[in-house]
Amino acid sequence: MSYYFAIIGTQDNPLFEYEFGSAKQGGDGVARFPQEARHMNQFIVHSSLDIVEEVQWAGGQMYLKCIDRFYNNYVSCFMTGGNVKFLLLHMPSQPASTNTTRASTSIAANPTSPQTEEAIKQFFTEVYESWVKTIMNPFYQANMEVKSPVFRSRVAAAGKKYL
C-alpha cells in the first residue's frame, strides 16, 4: 500500500507533505504510486476537503475515519482543534474488490477494514503529538508551512511503526 500524507491548513494550503509506503508485511516503505497518478494525489486530497468540511461537524471526534474515495484511493482524515486537517491518502497495491466474501484483515490489502482504521488512527495520534510539539515553536504562525526535519522524521517513524 502506498501512502500520501498531507497536512492541510485552514486555507486549503498544504503545510506538510510526505509520501511513503507500507512497511508492514515485507513492504519496503517506498510509495509505489503509478507515475501518472502520482501528481493526482494532491488533487484528490484537495478535493476531499469538501467532504471533510461536511463531516467535521457530524461528531465530536477528531478522527473522521475514511471519508472519501476516488477510484482506488482512500482518504482518511484527522482534524486538529485548529481546523488543521491531517489527510492520509492510501492506495492499496491491488484494487480492493468490494464483493470479495473474505474480508482481508491485512492493512495493506483492505483499506476499509477495522484493522486499517485502527492503525491509521494510531498513526494520526502519534503525528498529532509531534504536530502539537512542532507548532508550539514560538516562531510558528497559523497556516505556516512546517519544514522541520525532526517533524518529518517523526512522521516517517510513525508511518513505519503503524502502517
Binding site: 485552514t10 486555507q11 486549503d12 494550503n13 498544504p14 501528481h39 494532491q42 488533487f43 484528490i44 484537495h46 478535493s47 476531499s48 476537503l49 469538501d50 467532504i51 468540511e53 461536511e54 463531516v55 467535521q56 461537524w57 457530524a58 471519508i67 474515495r69 476516488f70 477510484y71 485548529g82 481546523n83 504562525q141 497559523a142 497556516n143 505556516m144
Partner: protein
C-alpha cells in the same frame, strides 16, 4: 434547449431545429428563440388526429398531460441515437426546418440552373417550392423522425397564392403574431406527432423483442453505416407516411389545421367534441389501412421470420448495431417454442421490453398515467424474468412518470414494484383511502422523497447487475448519464431541504431555478439524503480511467460536465474542480487530435484548423452544433477555466467578481486587487495552482484560444510571482518557478502573439502580471538656469525698493541671492516647457519585459507626456526617463503610468514607492474555499465593506504633486564686454562693463529683472563676521567693507525699467570695484514674466536665474604702508602750514597746539607713475607723484580732534547685531576696552577728514580711490590727536607756550598766567592749585604736571542749563 442530464429527460420529446434555405445565423437563432417558450404543449390544446388507426396516443385520454419538447439545434451523436429504442427519448422524433421568409423575396438562393427552365411562377412562389424540395430532402436524410415540418418565419402567405405546399407552415412576423400563433403551430406539430407515435408503437408491438444496447455501440463510429442503412430504407419509411404525394393523409393537415384552429384550450368542451367528430370527415382521402400496413410489414418484416428478411435492410432505429447478431437472436426467438423453456422466457422478456418502450412513448406523449400503468406491468414482467437491465429501465421510467405527474399536480400511487418487498410499502394507501386528492398527492410525494435514495440505489444496482447477463451490460455512457440524472434528482431534493415539493419539480422539468439560492456553505448534515451520500452515488458515474475506449470523448465530456454541475449545485467546489480538471485533461488530447484531423481534412496547417473545432467544442458545454461564433465559444471556455482555476486559488487579474470587460485601474482597484491577490496567494497549494494553470494553458493552446493562452500564461506568472514590492534589500521577490519555465512562458506569450497575428486575430492581450510595475516617478531636476524659484509677494517689494534706492544693504535679506530651496524647486514646472521624469520600473521575473509604450498619467493641469519604450532586464529595477510638457498652469499630479507591455493590455499602473509585502493573517476567519467564494455569494456587501477591518495594511500609492506656473521666458547671457569674462582692476579702481541678455522665448517677455551679485570677498568676510572672538572694532570694519564696498554693482540708466521683449536683447551696465581678495564674482540675474507691475503681483511668483561668472584680477595700486600722528610743538615751518586750509591765510593765528602732524607712507605698487591726490576736510589738498615701487611720505598737519564721548560703544552696521544691552564677552579689561573705543572713534574722525584718489600718469589711464582704512591708531597717536577736555596754557612773563623753557629769577616775581580752556560744552568749576617743583628733583614736585592731575579738581554741575557746543 433543456438540460440533457435532467432527471426527467426521458419524458421529453426531442426536436431538432434545422436551418433550411438561405438564412442568416442571427435570424435562425432569433427564430429558435421565438420557438423556445412554446416548448411545453398541453395535451388538452391538441386536437386529435381523426384517423382511426392513429389514436393510441390520443390527447383526449389525458387532457391535462403535457408534451415537453426539447428544442435542440443539432442532431444527437450517433452513439446516443443508437441507444434507442432502449432509451427512445434520445432519438429526435420531430424535425423542424426553419426558413426565413424574408429571404424568399430575394435572389433564389440556389443557383439558377433549375429556375432557368422557362418562365415559372413568381419568385417567392418558386422559392417556396424550392423549400419544399429541401424539406423532402430533410425527410430523406432523417427518416427516423416522425414529424418533419418546415416553418417559414416572418412570412405571410397570401391567400390568393393558394395553399402552401404540404409540410410548410408560415409564421408571420412577431409583430403580426398573436399570442397563440406559435402555440397553435406547436399544437399542430404535436397532433401530428401523437398520430405518428401510434404508427411507431404499432410497429414496435409487432416486434417479438428488442435488443439491449450493447457495449460496443458506444465506441464504434457507426454513424455512417447506420445512416446508410437508414438511407436504404428511406423509400419505405417515407411511403409509410406519405403514400400519395399532394393529396394524401398528410396533405390534409393544412386543411385540418383550419379546423383545429377552432379547437383551442380556451374553447368550451362541447366545441372540442364537435370538431373532433367533424375532423374525420375533413380528411376523407386518408387511406384506411393500406399504406400503413405495408410500412409495418416492411419494418416488422425481419422479425416475422419472413424469407425476405435477410435481404431486406433493417431499420436502424429498431435494430441494434449489428444486423447479423440481431437476426441470430431473432432466429432463436423464432425457433424456440414451448412453455417454461428459455424461449418462453425470452418471449416474456420481449413482451416486457416492448411494454417498456411503449410505456416510454406514453411518457413522451404526456400520458403519464398510462405510462405508469404500462411500465408497472412491463416492469413486473422484466423483474420476474430477471431482465435486470429493462427492469431498471422500467423503474427509471416509472420514477419519471411519477415526477411528471407530481409536477402537473396530479395524484399518483407509488407502484409496488418500486419497493423491494411489498411489506415495505407504506400502509398509507391502504389505511387512509378517503383523503382529498391534494393531500393524497402530498403524501405520495413525501413517500416518494423518502423512497428516492433507496429506489435510485436499487436501479443503479440493477444496472450494474445487468452486466452479469451476457451482452446485456449497460454501456458506460447511459449508465453514467443515469447516475448523473439520479444524482441531480437527489441533489435538488437535498437543496430543497430534503423534501420533494413544487419548486423541485419545476426545477427538474422546466429548469426554473430556485427562488432563493440555498446556502450550501453551512454544513447540511441533517438533510436526507446527505451530500456525502449523493457524492458517493455521483462518483459512480465517474468514468473509469482504465477503460477510455468504452466511452467516446464527447460522451466523457458530457458526463464529466454533468458531474461537475451537480457538485457545483451541492457546493462541493473542490470536488467539482477535480472533475473539471479531469475534463480538461480529457479535452486536451481530444482537441489536439480533432485539430489534426480537421486540418488534414481541410488541407491546412493544424494551427489554422479553427473551424473544425467548433462542433466538438460546442457539444462539450451543451451548446451543441449550434456552430457558435468563435467568440461565443471562447467566453464559455474562458469562464469555465476561470472557475476551475479560481477554486484552486489561482491568482488572477480579475478579482473574482467577473465583469472582465470593465477593467478598473484606479488606485483603489489596484490596491484592492493586490490585497485580494495576496489573500488568494496565501490560499491553497502552489503546486495545484500551477498544475491547473498549465492544464488551462494546454487546453487553450489545443483549442486554439489565443486569449486563453495569454490569459492563463499571465495568470500563471502572476500566481508564481511573489506579489511583493521589494525594498532595496529586504524581500525576496523572485517567483516560485524555475528560470527556464519563466523564460518559456515569456516566449510562449510572444509565440502566441505571433501566431495570432498570422491568423489575423486582432487585439488579443493579456493582463500584466505584476501590479508593482511602477515603483517610482520623480522629476529630474531642471538645469539651474531653467529652474524656477518661488518667491513671495513680499520679497519682490523688498527687492524693488532696494534697487530703487541704489544702496544695497547686504544685511537686509535679499531673497534673490540665496541658494534656491531644493525641495521646493523639485515640484515646479513651467507651462509649455518640457520636463524630464525618472520612472522606476521593476521586473521581478527572470526574463526581459518589453514595454511597448509607457507614458505618464496626470491629473489636474493639462499635461502631455511623451511615449517611451524600453526593455526591463530580468530581476531588476530600471530607471527610465520620460519627458512631458505641461500645457497649462495649475496644480499637476502625476498619478501613475500608462504602460503597454508587449502582449498585455494597455493599462494604468499606480506608483508604489514603499516596499510592501503581505502580512500573514493572524486570526482565522474562514475555513477553506469559503474564503474565495464568499464575496461572490454576497455581491451586495459593498456598503458594509467600510466597516470591515482590513485584513492587512494595503500598499500605499503615491502621487507626484507638481506646481505648474505660467509661461516664463528663458534668458541667456548673450555677451559681455569683458574678454572671456575676465577683468583686471587695481585696488580701489572702478570699472564698468556691460552684459547683454537675450530672451530666448518666442512669446513671453521678461518684465522683471533683478540683479544680485556674489564675489569671492564675501565669503571670508562673512566668515570673519561670524567669528565670535572678533572685537567690535574689527567687526565694524568687516561690516563696513561688506556693506559699502560692493565689488559689483548694477548701474541703471536713468528711468530705465528692465525689460526684454520676446526674442529681444537688452544691455545692462555693471561696475566692478577692485578690492583686495577679489578673484571671482558672479552676476546673478533673476528674471520673470509677471504680466503686471510688481506691486500688483498675486500671492507668489517665480523667477529664474541666469548667472554670469566673472574672473577678476585685482592688482595692488597704492598702498598705505605706514602712518603716524605726531603732536606739534614748538615752532613749525610755514611751509607745513601751507598744506592746511587755515595756513593759507597767514593772518590767522594758528597755534601748533591745535594741530597734529599726520604722516602717511604711500607706496606705489603698480608699475607706472601714480599721482595721488588727498583731500583734507578743512580744505587742504595734497598732490604727490609717486614713482613705481617707491614709497613716498606725506606729512601734513591736521587739526586735532575733539570728541565728545570717545568711549561710546562701537556701533554695528548689521541690523541683526544691533542689540540694546550687550555684555562684552571679551576678557579684556575695562581700560583696554576704553582705549580701543577711543582709538576707533578717533580713527573714524581721521578717515572722515581724509579722502584720497589716484590716477596713473603713464600707461593706460586708470584711476581709483586710495584706500586709507588701513590706518591703525596706537595710544600715543590718540594722545597726539585728541584735544583735551580742559586745556591749560601757562604763560610766564607774557611769553606764551611757544617757548618751552622760561627763566625766572629767584626772589623775583614772575607773572604766571594760566589759561584754562573748557573744551566741553559743560561748565567746569576748576580749582586752581599752584604746585611748583624743582627741576632738580622732579619727583618731589609740588605741582602736578599740567593736565595730568587737574582732574582731581572738584566741579559741580551748574545751575545753568546744558547747551551743546554746536548750538
Amino acid at each position: 434547449m433543456l438540460d440533457q442530464l435532467s432527471p426527467v429527460a426521458p419524458a421529453r420529446v426531442r426536436v431538432v431545429l434545422l436551418p433550411i434555405g438561405q438564412i442568416k445565423r442571427a435570424r435562425f437563432l432569433s427564430f429558435v428563440e421565438r420557438l423556445q417558450p412554446e416548448n411545453v404543449v398541453r395535451l388538452g390544446d391538441i386536437s386529435p388526429d381523426g384517423r382511426p388507426h392513429r389514436n393510441m396516443f390520443s390527447p383526449l385520454a389525458f387532457p391535462t398531460g403535457m408534451i415537453v419538447y426539447d428544442l435542440t439545434t443539432f442532431y444527437p451523436p450517433s452513439s446516443h441515437v443508437a441507444l434507442s429504442p432502449f432509451e427512445l427519448y434520445r432519438e429526435p422524433l420531430v424535425i423542424i426546418a426553419v426558413a426565413d421568409g424574408a429571404e424568399l423575396d430575394r435572389v433564389p438562393y440556389r443557383s439558377n440552373r433549375r429556375s432557368l427552365t422557362g418562365n415559372g411562377p413568381p419568385r417567392p412562389e418558386h422559392n417556396l417550392r424550392e423549400l419544399y424540395q429541401d424539406l423532402e430532402e430533410v425527410r430523406d436524410r432523417y427518416p427516423k423522425a416522425l414529424v418533419h415540418q418546415l416553418l417559414v418565419f416572418d412570412y405571410v402567405h397570401p391567400i390568393s397564392a393558394g395553399k402552401l405546399p404540404e409540410g410548410l407552415v408560415a409564421v408571420p412576423p412577431a409583430a403580426e403574431c398573436k399570442l397563440t400563433t406559435l402555440k397553435t403551430i406547436m399544437c399542430d406539430i404535436s397532433s401530428m406527432l401523437l398520430a405518428e407515435m401510434t404508427t411507431l408503437a404499432k410497429s414496435l408491438q409487432a416486434l417479438p423483442t428488442i435488443g439491449s444496447p450493447s457495449q460496443s455501440q458506444g465506441i464504434q463510429p457507426q454513424d455512417r453505416t447506420s445512416w446508410q442503412v437508414g438511407q436504404a430504407d428511406l423509400l419505405a419509411r417515407r411511403n409509410s407516411q406519405f403514400s400519395l404525394p399532394g393529396q394524401d393523409s398528410r396533405s390534409g393537415s393544412p386543411a385540418g389545421s383550419t379546423d383545429r384552429s377552432h379547437v383551442r384550450m380556451s374553447m368550451p368542451a362541447q366545441f372540442r367534441s364537435d370538431s373532433n367528430t367533424s375532423s374525420p370527415s375533413a380528411r376523407p382521402t386518408t387511406p384506411q389501412n393500406g399504406e400503413l400496413a405495408t410500412s409495418f410489414d416492411q419494418i416488422v418484416g425481419p422479425a416475422n421470420g419472413d424469407s425476405k428478411a435477410s435481404q431486406r435492410p433493417i431499420p436502424s432505429r429498431l435494430a441494434s448495431a449489428e444486423p447479423t447478431r440481431d437476426t441470430s437472436r431473432d432466429r432463436v426467438s423464432v425457433q424456440g417454442f414451448g412453455p417454461g423453456s428459455t424461449s418462453e422466457r425470452s418471449r416474456n422478456i420481449g413482451k416486457g421490453r416492448i411494454g417498456i418502450v411503449i410505456g416510454s412513448l406514453y411518457l413522451q406523449a404526456g400520458r403519464w398515467g398510462d405510462a405508469l400503468k404500462e411500465l408497472t406491468e412491463a416492469g413486473t414482467i422484466a423483474k420476474y424474468n430477471l431482465d435486470h437491465l429493462w427492469h431498471a429501465k422500467a423503474l427509471d421510467y416509472i420514477l419519471v412518470s411519477m415526477l411528471m405527474l407530481a409536477w402537473t399536480g396530479y395524484d399518483f400511487q407509488i407502484p409496488q414494484i418500486c419497493y423491494i418487498t411489498p411489506e415495505k410499502a407504506p400502509q398509507a394507501q391502504g389505511s387512509h383511502e378517503p383523503k382529498s386528492p391534494a393531500s393524497n398527492r402530498l403524501v405520495s410525494m413525501q413517500n416518494l422523497a423518502v423512497l428516492l435514495p433507496e429506489l435510485l440505489d436499487r436501479i443503479l444496482n440493477l444496472y450494474a447487475r445487468a452486466a452479469n447477463n451476457t451482452g446485456e451490460a449497460l454501456p458506460q455512457f447511459p449508465f453514467s448519464e443515469t447516475v448523473v440524472r439520479f444524482s441531480k434528482l437527489l441533489a435538488v431534493v437535498h437543496l430543497a431541504g430534503g423534501a420533494l415539493d413544487d419548486d423541485v419539480l419545476q426545477l427538474l422539468v422546466v429548469s426554473t431555478p430556485f427562488k432563493k439560492r440555498p446556502n450550501v456553505v453551512a454544513p447540511r448534515l441533517n438533510i436526507r439524503p446527505t451530500r456525502t451520500e449523493i457524492v458517493t452515488t455521483l462518483f459512480r458515474a465517474f468514468p473509469t480511467s482504465v477503460a477510455p475506449e468504452f466511452l467516446s470523448l464527447v460522451d466523457r465530456t458530457i458526463i464529466l460536465s454533468g458531474i461537475a454541475s451537480i457538485l457545483g449545485l451541492l457546493g462541493y467546489y473542490r470536488k467539482k474542480a477535480l472533475v473539471m480538471r479531469e475534463l480538461v485533461s480529457v479535452l486536451i488530447p481530444g482537441l489536439v487530435q480533432a485539430r489534426i484531423r480537421g486540418a488534414a481534412e481541410m488541407g491546412v496547417h493544424p494551427a489554422a484548423g479553427l473551424a473544425a473545432l467548433n462542433s466538438i467544442n460546442g457539444s462539450t458545454n451543451g451548446a451543441g452544433a449550434l456552430d457558435l461564433g468563435e467568440g461565443d465559444v471562447e467566453t464559455g471556455v474562458d469562464s469555465f477555466l476561470g472557475l476551475l482555476s479560481q477554486t484552486y486559488g489561482v491568482v488572477t487579474s480579475d478579482s473574482g467578481s467577473g465583469s472582465a470587460d470593465s477593467h478598473d485601474d484606479s488606485n483603489e482597484a489596484a490596491v484592492g486587487r493586490i490585497v485580494q491577490n495576496a489573500m488568494t496567494r496565501a490560499f491553497g497549494g502552489q503546486h495545484l495552482k500551477m498544475d491547473v494553470l498549465r492544464s488551462c494553458i494546454n487546453l487553450s493552446e489545443a483549442l486554439p484560444d489565443f486569449h486563453g493562452v495569454l490569459r492563463f500564461t499571465a495568470d500563471l506568472l502572476r500566481t508564481a510571482g511573489s506579489g511583493v514590492a521589494p525594498g532595496p534589500r529586504s524581500d525576496d521577490a523572485s517567483p516560485s518557478m524555475t528560470r527556464e519555465e519563466q523564460v518559456r512562458l515569456a516566449t510562449n506569450i510572444t509565440r502566441t502573439l505571433g501566431a495570432a497575428r498570422n491568423l489575423g486575430v486582432k487585439d488579443i492581450e493579456a493582463e500584466y502580471w505584476d501590479e508593482f510595475l511602477v515603483r517610482g516617478v520623480e522629476l529630474e531636476a531642471l538645469p539651474m538656469t531653467r529652474t524656477p524659484i518661488p518667491h513671495k509677494k513680499s520679497e519682490i517689494s523688498g527687492a524693488t525698493t532696494v534697487f530703487a534706492s541704489q544702496v544695497v544693504n547686504p544685511f537686509i535679506y535679499n531673497p534673490f541671492l540665496r541658494a534656491p530651496n531644493i525641495a521646493a524647486k523639485d515640484q515646479l514646472l513651467v507651462a509649455g516647457e518640457g520636463a524630464i521624469f525618472r520612472v522606476t520600473l521593476q521586473n521581478p521575473y527572470e526574463f526581459d519585459v518589453e514595454i511597448e509604450s509607457i507614458k505618464l498619467e496626470s491629473e489636474g493641469a493639462e499635461f502631455a507626456s511623451s511615449t517611451q519604450k524600453t526593455v526591463i532586464g530580468p530581476y531588476r529595477t530600471q530607471i527610465l526617463t520620460v519627458s512631458g510638457t505641461p500645457k497649462a498652469a495649475g496644480q499637476l499630479k502625476i498619478t501613475g503610468c500608462i504602460v503597454r507591455v508587449r502582449g498585455c493590455r494597455e493599462r494604468r499602473f499606480p506608483i508604489f514607492e514603499e516596499p510592501w509585502s503581505p502580512q500573514r493573517a493572524v486570526k482565522i476567519k474562514t475555513i477553506g474555499v469559503a474564503a474565495i467564494f464568499k464575496p461572490k455569494d454576497r455581491p451586495s456587501s459593498t456598503d458594509s465593506k467600510a466597516s470591515v477591518v482590513p485584513v492587512m495594511t494595503p500598499p500605499k500609492t503615491v502621487t507626484l504633486g507638481l506646481n505648474v506656473i505660467e509661461k516664463q521666458p528663458v534668458v541667456v547671457v548673450k555677451s559681455n564686454t569683458l574678454s572671456q569674462s575676465a577683468v583686471m582692476v587695481l585696488e580701489g579702481e572702478r570699472q564698468r562693463f556691460s552684459i547683454t541678455l537675450q530672451n530666448l522665448s518666442k512669446n513671453t517677455p521678461t518684465d522683471l529683472l533683478l540683479f544680485s551679485f556674489k564675489d569671492s570677498t564675501q565669503e571670508p568676510l562673512q566668515l570673519a563676521m561670524s567669528n565670535r572672538d572678533a572685537s567690535p572694532a574689527e567687526l565694524y570694519e568687516y561690516e563696513l567693507i561688506f556693506a559699502q564696498k560692493q565689488a559689483l554693482r548694477w548701474v541703471p540708466k536713468d528711468g530705465e525699467l528692465p525689460y526684454i521683449e520676446p526674442g529681444g536683447t537688452t544691455t545692462f551696465e555693471m561696475e566692478v570695484l577692485g578690492k583686495p581678495g577679489l578673484t571671482s564674482a558672479v552676476v546673478q540675474v533673476d528674471y520673470a514674466y509677471l504680466g503686471v507691475p510688481p506691486t500688483e503681483v498675486q500671492e507668489k511668483f517665480h523667477t529664474r536665474q541666469v548667472s554670469l561668472p566673472l574672473t577678476i584680477t585685482v592688482n595692488a595700486s597704492l598702498e598705505l604702508t605706514r602712518m603716524d600722528v605726531l603732536p606739534l610743538t614748538g615752532t613749525i615751518p610755514r611751509s607745513l602750514w601751507a598744506k592746511t586750509e587755515a595756513g593759507k591765510d597767514s593772518e590767522k593765528d594758528i597755534t601748533p597746539d591745535d594741530y597734529c602732524l599726520l604722516l602717511l607712507d604711500l607706496r606705489n605698487a603698480w608699475p607706472s607713475h601714480l599721482h595721488v591726490h588727498l583731500d583734507i576736510s578743512d580744505g587742504g589738498t595734497i598732490d604727490e607723484e609717486i614713482l613705481p615701487g617707491n614709497t613716498s611720505r606725506i606729512m601734513f598737519p591736521v587739526p586735532r580732534i575733539y570728541l565728545d564721548d570717545p568711549h561710546l560703544a562701537i556701533p554695528a552696521l548689521d541690523p541683526s547685531r544691533q542689540r540694546q544691552f550687550v555684555v562684552s564677552t571679551g576678557k579684556i579689561s575695562a581700560d583696554s576696552e576704553r582705549s580701543s573705543r577711543e582709538a576707533f572713534w578717533y580713527r573714524e574722525e581721521i578717515l572722515k577728514m581724509l579722502h584720497g584718489t589716484w590716477h596713473t600718469k603713464t600707461g593706460p589711464s586708470r584711476n581709483g580711490e586710495t584706500e586709507l582704512r588701513g590706518i591703525r591708531l596706537s595710544q600715543r597717536m590718540v594722545e597726539a590727536i585728541k584735544i583735551e577736555e580742559v586745556g591749560i596754557d601757562l604763560i610766564v612773563n607774557g611769553s606764551g607756550s611757544q617757548k618751552p623753557r622760561h627763566e625766572i629769577f629767584t626772589d623775583d616775581f614772575a607773572e604766571l598766567k594760566v589759561r584754562v580752556t573748557n573744551g566741553r560744552p559743560r561748565r567746569y568749576f576748576p580749582c586752581f592749585v599752584s604746585n611748583p617743583r624743582y627741576e632738580t628733583n622732579p619727583t618731589t614736585s609740588l605741582w602736578n604736571s599740567p593736565g595730568s592731575s587737574f582732574g582731581t579738581a572738584l566741579y559741580k554741575e551748574p545751575y545753568l542749563k546744558y547747551r551743546p557746543r554746536n548750538q
